[in-house]
């Protein structure tokens, strides 16, 4: 009756850290990218690797092209904010291979003042919009992204709402109706941390 609800959890964690050899894909990455892989685990059967942001493009290219990986479907890209912790953000990428029928989760931790990483939209087109959404919601900059603008919110929106320090009750001021000309032009801007700037033509 008085058992602690967290108790079975600790048991599970112990048993999860115990496996003697890492799963196949993790082992493959450890072998080829031992510098990049920070840690790995298997949580509820989902194979996960945590990697450094430096050299992530090579790793993702390997995951996409290597005959043992063949991750052709970039299922999802998102981020999570673990506020008091540092590194604060984690960019989470879910991959799936149609050919080899396996899945992998890749996580890239990012510090608060260095919330930027290379874009993977050059490898999978699907990443284009996912990265825009991620920038929109978390303010994580994807370097080299062709069109890093807000996706779900509007350009005048201030802040990034899914950050944990964004107040749940905060209301944004209404934006006045735009003139027709502006409505055509306003999209040709890149939103940078300093504010909107024209697209380099």
């Amino acid at each position: 009756m008085a058992e602690d609800p967290r108790q079975p959890v600790e048991e599970e964690q112990v048993s999860e850290q115990a496996p003697t050899s890492p799963p196949v894909l993790t082992a493959l990455l450890l072998e080829n990218f031992s510098d990049s892989v920070v840690s790995h685990h298997t949580n509820f059967g989902d194979e996960t690797v945590v990697i450094k942001r430096e050299g992530l493009l090579d790793l993702f290219r390997f995951l996409k092209d290597d005959p043992r990986c063949r991750f052709d479907l970039m299922i999802d890209l998102t981020a999570a904010d673990y506020l008091p912790r540092e590194p604060r953000f984690e960019v989470v990428v879910h991959l799936k291979s149609i050919v080899l029928h396996h899945r992998l989760r890749v996580k890239i931790p990012l510090a608060t003042d260095e919330a930027e990483l290379d874009t993977i939209s050059g490898l999978w087109v699907a990443a284009d919009w996912y990265e825009r959404e991620c920038w929109d919601m978390y303010g994580i900059v994807f370097k080299g992204h062709p069109n890093l603008r807000r996706l779900l919110l509007y350009d005048e929106f201030e802040g990034h709402p899914l950050r944990k320090d964004y107040d749940y009750y905060l209301q944004q001021p209404l934006v006045p109706m735009r003139k027709i000309r502006e409505r055509h032009d306003y999209e040709h801007k890149v939103i940078t941390p300093e504010g909107p700037k024209p697209l380099p033509s």
Binding site: M1, P5, R6, P8, V9, E12, N43, F44, D46, T48, D72, L73, M74, I75, D76, T78, A80, D81, Y82, V92, H94, I98, H101, R103, R105, W124, V125, A126, D128, W129, Y130, M137, R150, L151, L152, L153, Y154, P161, L162, Y166, Y168, R183, H184, E187
Partner: protein, 397 residues
């Protein structure tokens, strides 16, 4: 695609804004298309008009309170969202759902899939001129929604699943009613089939329109009927089998070229397969419990609450703190009406998720709209956009 770039005429492409509030936009999405005559030379989709902050709300709600929010994701197949979300949290808790509940979920989920496809196909047919098909398909959807109402008490905002099972059992006489309704719906599907599939006007509007190759579709991370229409037999019910799908027999229809017509045919056949699945599941429906009781995940029986101190305390803890799953992260995907509907939930051990992400299947389709429409006539936006089955609630969350 050449622009009219003769300097003497001073011609320039015409910019046309379609939407956000336009009948063919199936909700509120805005397209900004540049036209050369009637041909689209560039196009950009602007979404977010229906953004409701699902993830922020979810991070500030407890795990049970999120179930009603999931109804509003894909609002033409809400039950699949309920099921997907509940399965994710069950995976986090390590709860096994009773077999009767699994079969009931399969039945209700497939009913939802048929509803989803009926709406999509009916609306597409209407937009290219076949008004009566829309009315017939909506009539058929109504038969199914009455079934849904019978079980869940609501037509649209079902909130039917719970962590560890379903809110209630299938009611008495449901299977007979189901049998009768399925026969009616099959008839309507056949009628729609006869009316459209060999109809020249319809074929002219659909065939060869909005083609996307297999390679590009995979690059864009298409899933569901859109990917299957390109010829890739990727269906999560087979690929990563969940629930009791491995015990059921069904086929995965695939297309060949990946145009609007293929998508129409794939969805039409999928409805028949879904009906086949529902019939099998109804035959195999075992007796037993419709939910399992896990004292950290769901409310106990009222008899326990009023009859025992443990029940009362459990009830109090669930109401005050919410269910508290063990810390960890979990990704669970189900085959939604549009494709892979994934939930990525991070728990820190408290009563509220640290992160609750929905992987919306139609997000990628709208991202690929530009590629599918460029080079086509302006009027072709309508069947293309109809065939991707954009659902605003799911796309923009």
């Amino acid at each position: 695609m050449k622009r009219l770039d003769s300097p003497d005429l001073g011609s320039e492409p015409m910019v046309i804004e379609i939407g956000p509030a336009h009948p063919a936009m199936h909700g509120i999405t805005r397209f900004r298309a540049e036209l050369d005559g009637e041909v689209i030379v560039s196009m950009e989709a602007d979404i977010g008009y229906l953004h409701r902050g699902f993830e922020k709300e979810a991070e500030n709600s407890d795990y049970i309170q999120i179930i009603p929010y999931t109804d509003r994701l894909n609002y033409v197949s809400p039950l699949i969202n309920n099921i997907g979300y509940s399965m994710t949290i069950e995976k986090l808790f390590g709860i096994e759902v009773p077999r009767r509940a699994e079969f009931a979920r399969v039945i209700m989920g497939e009913i939802s899939r048929v509803c989803d496809h009926l709406t999509c196909l009916g609306a597409t047919a209407m937009e290219v001129g076949a008004m009566s098909v829309f009315i017939w398909f909506i009539k058929a959807r109504e038969y199914l929604w009455e079934l849904v109402e019978e079980v869940t008490g609501a037509r649209l905002t079902t909130s039917w699943t719970r962590i560890g099972g379903n809110a209630n059992d299938l009611p008495d006489g449901f299977l007979q009613m189901l049998d009768q309704r399925l026969a009616q719906v099959s008839d309507v599907i056949d009628e729609g089939d006869r009316l459209l599939i060999r109809n020249k006007i319809f074929i002219d509007r659909m065939k060869g329109i909005g083609i996307i190759s297999k390679e590009r579709a995979i690059e864009y991370a298409f899933t569901g009927p859109m990917l299957r229409a390109c010829g890739v037999p990727y269906d999560l019910r087979r690929e990563d089998p969940y629930s009791v799908y491995p015990e059921l027999d069904f086929e995965i229809p695939v297309g060949t070229v990946g145009d609007c017509y293929d998508r129409f045919l794939v969805r039409l056949e999928e409805m028949r397969q879904s009906i086949h699945i529902i019939r099998q599941a109804a035959d195999k429906l075992p007796p037993g419990e419709y939910r399992t009781y896990h004292r950290r995940a769901g409310l106990p029986d009222k008899l326990d609450v009023y009859g025992s101190i443990e029940g009362l305390i459990d009830h109090f803890k669930i109401v005050m703190d919410g269910p508290q799953p063990p810390p960890g992260e979990v990704y669970q995907a189900v085959e939604g009406g549009n494709g892979e509907l994934g939930f990525y939930v991070v728990s820190d051990g408290s009563g509220r998720p640290l992160k609750c992400r929905v992987r919306p299947p139609c997000f990628n389709f709208v991202a690929a709209m530009a590629e599918m429409t460029i080079g086509h006539y302006l009027a072709d936006i309508v069947p293309i956009f109809g065939s991707i089955n954009m659902i605003g609630g799911e796309l923009e969350r």
